[in-house]
Symmetry: C3
Subunit: 648 residues, 3 copies
């Protein structure tokens, strides 16, 4: 349980370094991240490495008992590198080299970039291999599966396809390229996706390219990790993930890394619309689920963000501290705040740090100090504890990618339905894991698998095995639509799942932003929108039906008993309260641990080890909340406060 | 009176072909369209033609009595063609070859494309010339007057201008190029429109380029039609039109073709705002007016569209059938639904067909079968009947083009005012033709000519002749603004029409989205917006005047008696009801046949032959409607139902 | 006091020239501008100059007593020039030559363009040097500091930086290029800003590039001015400014020119929201303040604008006349209307002139004639009068530029806060100068300096000297943030101003479009938004504090007595009325002349000479207004009317 900061010695006058480190020690900081953008300082001239300044910085921290995480600087090669090796620059959707001058312009597959990466990482690893202060390494920064179109990438993608399909006949047939006479008659006709009309391109081809691009990025991570491991025997290795449009398959990314890191920037203004789900618990649970182990927040909100966009609202009191505590409650073992002090120069100067440009101790600093106190004192009992839940929500890169180029309806986004289920379970006071759709599900009593659109054999087998063993499975609209090539399955929806859903989709209506109403068996009604599956029952029973339009009275939500298991199908997307009520019914009768009676926005989680269990209660609202739980002492929580309660 | 479907044998396993054809026969399908995107299958290797598969498919349909329309595949040349002949790829507004990989990337003027077009069309025509099943040909697909900027097109455009203007002096003078020192001093300085600032370019030059681009496309159509005619003696030839930004002059396009085809995709959700005009009757009347004869719907809505955009709402019950019936009622003799079955592969997979991906018989199939029954049984009496109206609405490509680069006011669009008049006449229960502004007008008692902005000699002469013969003519705001070079006429508006309008425009105010109110002589008031002509009367009388702003009390709408004729001028754009009330007054006393008392959304038309007349009543609403017409038996129409009533 | 028009003889048939000139004389026109876009006519073939047509035109006006302002035609080189010297075309943000065909495509720094500019301007100057009718010259047209990226500009920018920083070390250090490894290791790596992500680029670098680009443009102006002065001894020289995104430093632009000209196109529809500030008095005061002397309106609204956008509303009655009178009241000595007659050809044909395309005398012409009468008769008494105010509002190009690439909050724009203060002072009936932030401030009793974000030594010294001398200074939020390199100052805000503000910014909250409320000491409350500085008082007293959010009760607005002076700080942006009430309090007790009791929208100014003073009262509303001022006779003003009242 450590609090840290991100620090850039290279941004500051040398005389500030010790002063900053002294203040960090006094504040309670235990770890710093250094150097992930410093290539131009580490290798100012090609082949001439300079670690002197970094040695000094590491020594300053080490000498004060602060651990160091070192970043490899490959996100930003120096300008001399791009000037000498222009093939290291990635190419855009028109095949042109991008304009450099910001960051992240490198092509992972460029031979020059790979050569220079090997050299710099090797030099760093050799240089720091015996430095005990360097406990961990971060590879690159906020990696994305960039869809480079350079000749090298083009060639690599062609070879990837050759290996997968062997012949053009098989490739053409799989993609259905005959449409619009798009059949390749030569491998040379294949390129990465080009032009501005991605949604017009073949979805099977795009799905493959996303897979290829993600694998390509993972190779780059592995290349660096292998070098570091070669020289540095006792360190851990990670990379800091963020969720952007080009997010790679993070399950594969982290497979060979030691632990998961996530850059956590929750909003500073809580939405006034209660229907909008704002808790960042979803992303924290997703992060924990990647390796199914505790994790690190490598960058945590420290002040108002601002850079390429106008400055945003400043975090409300207790938010900076609170969002860190929330992360610890969800499985973080360390949280580093970005950044120690706001930069006074460069494009990111208004991405505010713990300290303002004025270098004075202000409100946010005091809050951060209080966080350090809390963690260093009260939260050490959590050391070695982990989280174990009995409800799983399944995430799938295949689905996430597929929806990027074929949106199903206006307003339909993959993450939203996942968040709705997560919110529903959380409001019941139950814990929930978010894990890979292909992960082992044995430990779960309830599994939620929203929109299993691409029903690959691996995915279908995993879910089927779970149901066969008597699990409770929840499926939704847009499941079983595609096979693993991203072609439509020629069968009643939900395709391979129909056998245990006990119902099929007779017809569907893409509601988009229009609405319908669902009336449940118990008489409750909920608004729904985005999508309407009109169901035809086989062995399933209807739990809820449409009240409007030409399919009024037709089932929308079903339950089927299948062997020892139960399979639910939710054929539409409903308002927030439905998911709480529905999950309450599903969970009933299971061994899922539930803490009833939480106010909206109050969240619980349980961290435990072999001897103790701790209930963590977090107030994710801007109001004082009273918490009354059975067997737990009544407690009052200030906004964004965390309470740790040892129990049974 | 035939119903058909669009079918792609090349998209499906061979074993499905007979099954599909069998089901089509059972359903009542009489015609299929084939092959319009199949170049990569018809000529998989340059010069090696393969008609075997298509022969088989044609034979399967022919053997079951289903007629075939064959498409020429020139919309989508195969990839080998683009790879070998890159000049076949069209160039964008920056002079760069477009990114291929979707469709329609060919340049009509490319020598390579023309050569390969001649070859493939010749091969096809020779191959199928004696095949009796092939009754008709479709050239290319949804042709647009693409504004290619390649060197060949640049040269061709220069020569087009040289031929038209002979000297640069004349060209510079006509365009007024002296402004901003834009005078050409050499022909080499002329290019097609380049860059992103089209609305900043010279409007006379743009008008010429649209004319050139349209002619250029028509040449490409004629090239193919001539080849087909050379070999296939008894077939008809068409191309399937749709209305996009680059729509060519369809009067010229279809001049040398046998009949008009239109791709008809009405919205599946009826607008709730009654002011919004949603009936697709306008487009059907426009289609019928192109050759002033019956027509074909080559592609008709069969399910929810979705492709480059999210999936839209599914058609409400009876819509698929109803929109086809509406087309028949407006002059279609055949309607082909797009498509038989939703594609399971490729970018267009969510453009839903009659059958869903699951290949099961669902609601939409049943409706389609019912359509086939209705057409094959009840509608055969319409065989040989045509439509004859006494009211004409004039369409003009010159105006449509001119407004594309010089929008007159916020919210002002050429089609809107035409639709308002069409709606007004239709709500009276009268029939209306939409025809070319240069067409012979002898048969019409009332002619509506909205926004005759470019008043070329040909247009002015045609309208003047009509008025001189005693016709009733309605003109509107923005008429007589420009001469045929697209330069402003230096005279009081409406310029050459002022003599018979009997009034001039003293001043105008481009209202845009602001509003004013018109008070009519009879006391009725209507909101108006977009444009306000402030009129000064000569011999005309005022029918309505503005109630607001500094021109309060000034005439907006006038009527003038001119010889035996009457000329109306509507100087603003009003709310929907105005057009019904106004047209009612205009039609009074004429021989225009009117079916009074229709509910809003109920449409009538009359098809007749030398012996019989049929009143066709169509319920273009989502509600049951009761129809009470004089001399016609009271009838109840379900949503989107058509009733055929033989009368007098 | 002269009224004129912009006239293009080259656009019209030769036979119209005398007719137009005769009508101008009859109307009362005293001056015309000619030739600023006529390069293709003045040098139709390279090196062959043709002044015959222009001589004729000048003679036609001269012979009728109308003065001529000649424009140099360098905004639009002829096409033969671009064809022969492609380096004369400027390059866009991707380094590509822009598409020509509109206007303003030249690169100021191109050797070819400079050579041809010297030639054409020399030829013109030599030709007209003895022509007494040519009283003044306009250089180019609506000049902008175009950010060309051509090789010449790239090289020039590098040299500019070399000269400023001498070494790359100093440059890298100043910009903080180490961030994201952006350090230059060779001068060759420096380019002008490229790409679409300007807000991601280094702000210090961008600030320098704006400075360089502005200087570069000023050089081009000086080049031309020097040539004209060499040959034409008694003429005045100007250029016509407009305010666009690339507006150069107009204080430097006009430093070596004789007088300032401004192109004035106020909106023709007055906003219905009273909070929106629509008076164009702000821009007129800004124009007067550039050289702190009277000025010229070179282009004045004459009809509805329309060109690349749809046609806008036509000016309401008396607006054309009124906006000219408003300009005279604010220091204009001449106003030229753009344009005499609407063009009948070319892209600008719907930018309406005094006469419509029909060349008839309409409402706008009559209004213009009435303007001429008023100016030629009633306003001649203003000849030789000037404006002297005791309140100054400080404008700064440094701030304006800096905010372009680092917007501080949603909705925050530099001009808005200036306009709010200008509006507040104007509503009190006091006069206000808008002058350069580095100008001498001795004559002012009150100085308002909003958002002095970049606090360069020159700026700080100027303000400090003013305060030291006992002035009243008003500062606002976002002051003292940056040093002159555009790096953040590492001190409490407002940095170098804190000593006399007597308070510091403890923390800030970028409100954006969210709101808070300020309660003043006197109990009045005002809404505020965009920005909230939370103040910590030293010697200052609080005048107003926040009523909401976690900083409720904290001071937002302060007053500090400092020596003989007073310093106010307004830490947020408030609703309109605040500025009137606040400035009323500030002005109290000073010698600022105030005309109390004006209705909203009625504006006053004072023009005076050594013997007389004239109060000018302008009704900037669309309603009749009654004006009751102490010692001034009660008067009724029609919409947009001006009343001239001699007083004390």
């Amino acid at each position: 349980m450590k609090v840290g900061v991100v620090y850039y010695p290279e941004h500051w006058d040398r005389e500030l370094w010790e002063k900053d480190a002294d203040l960090m020690v006094e504040t309670g900081v235990k770890v710093v991240r250094l150097a992930e953008f410093a290539w131009s300082r580490l290798e100012p001239v090609e082949g001439q490495y300079n670690f002197t300044w970094l040695d000094e910085a590491v020594e300053i921290f080490a000498g004060r008992g602060i651990e160091v995480i070192l970043g490899t600087p490959t996100n930003c090669p120096p300008l001399w590198l791009y000037e000498k090796y222009p093939d290291a620059i990635l190419c855009d959707e028109h095949g042109n080299r991008v304009t450099i001058g910001v960051r992240g312009h490198r092509c992972f597959n460029s031979p020059s970039l790979i050569k220079k990466t090997i050299q710099i990482v090797t030099e760093m690893a050799k240089h720091y291999k015996d430095n005990k202060a360097v406990v961990s390494w971060q590879i690159d920064n906020e990696l994305e599966a960039n869809h480079c179109t350079c000749p090298v990438c083009t060639d690599k993608f062609r070879n990837w396809l050759k290996k997968k399909y062997t012949t053009l006949e098989k490739l053409n047939d799989t993609y259905g390229n005959v449409m619009w006479s798009g059949e390749y008659s030569d491998w040379s006709q294949i390129t990465p996706p080009l032009g501005n009309r991605q949604s017009w391109l073949n979805p099977a081809y795009l799905q493959d390219h996303y897979r290829y691009a993600s694998e390509s990025m993972v190779e780059f991570v592995k290349l660096q990790a292998d070098i570091i491991r070669t020289y540095c025997k006792d360190v851990t290795i990670t990379t800091n993930m963020y969720l952007g449009d080009m997010t790679p398959d993070f399950y594969k990314t982290f497979k060979e890394l030691s632990y998961v890191s996530y850059d956590n920037y929750p909003v500073a203004v809580i939405p006034e619309d209660h229907e909008e789900i704002y808790s960042h618990a979803f992303h924290l649970d997703l992060t924990r689920g990647i390796k199914r182990q505790n994790f690190c927040i490598m960058e945590e909100l420290s002040g108002a963000p601002g850079c390429w966009m106008p400055i945003r609202r400043t975090p409300r009191p207790n938010m900076i501290k609170g969002y860190s505590l929330q992360a610890f409650s969800r499985g973080a073992d360390s949280v580093l705040h970005f950044r120690w002090r706001s930069a006074t120069k460069g494009a990111e100067m208004f991405w505010h740090g713990i300290l303002d440009h004025n270098n004075k101790l202000g409100r946010r600093y005091e809050e951060f100090r209080s966080l350090c106190d809390t963690v260093n004192e009260e939260l050490q009992i959590l050391e070695g504890t982990t989280i174990h839940n009995k409800v799983a929500l399944l995430f799938s890169h295949e689905q996430d990618n597929a929806f990027k180029f074929q949106q199903q309806a206006d307003g339909f986004h993959y993450y939203n339905q996942l968040k709705l289920f997560h919110d529903g379970v959380s409001r019941l006071g139950a814990g929930i894991d978010i894990i890979n759709i292909t992960a082992n599900l044995d430990q779960y009593e309830v599994v939620i698998a929203p929109t299993v659109y691409i029903a690959s054999k691996e995915i279908v087998d995993n879910l089927t095995e779970y149901v066969d063993k008597g699990g409770k499975l929840i499926l939704t609209n847009r499941s079983g639509v595609k096979d693993e090539t991203n072609a439509c399955i020629m069968d009643y929806l939900p395709g391979p799942f129909a056998s245990y859903v006990g119902a099929v989709v007779e017809e569907y209506d893409a509601l988009g932003n229009n609405t319908n109403v669902i009336r449940m068996k118990n008489g409750k009604t909920y608004r729904c929108n985005q999508w309407a599956d009109i169901l035809q029952l086989d062995t399933a029973e209807s739990l809820g039906a449409y009240r409007e339009d030409f399919y009024q009275g037709k089932p929308a939500i079903t339950k089927n008993t299948y062997g020892d298991g139960e399979v639910y199908y939710v054929g539409t997307i409903l308002e927030r309260d439905f998911y709480r009520d529905f999950m309450n019914d599903v969970i009933e009768g299971t061994n899922v641990e539930v803490f009833q009676g939480l106010a909206d926005g109050v969240e619980v989680s349980v961290r435990e080890n072999s001897v103790s269990r701790y209930l963590l209660i977090f107030n994710n609202t801007n109001h004082v909340q009273e918490v009354n739980l059975t067997d737990i002492e009544r407690t009052i929580l200030n906004p964004f406060d965390l309470k740790v309660v040892p129990f049974n």
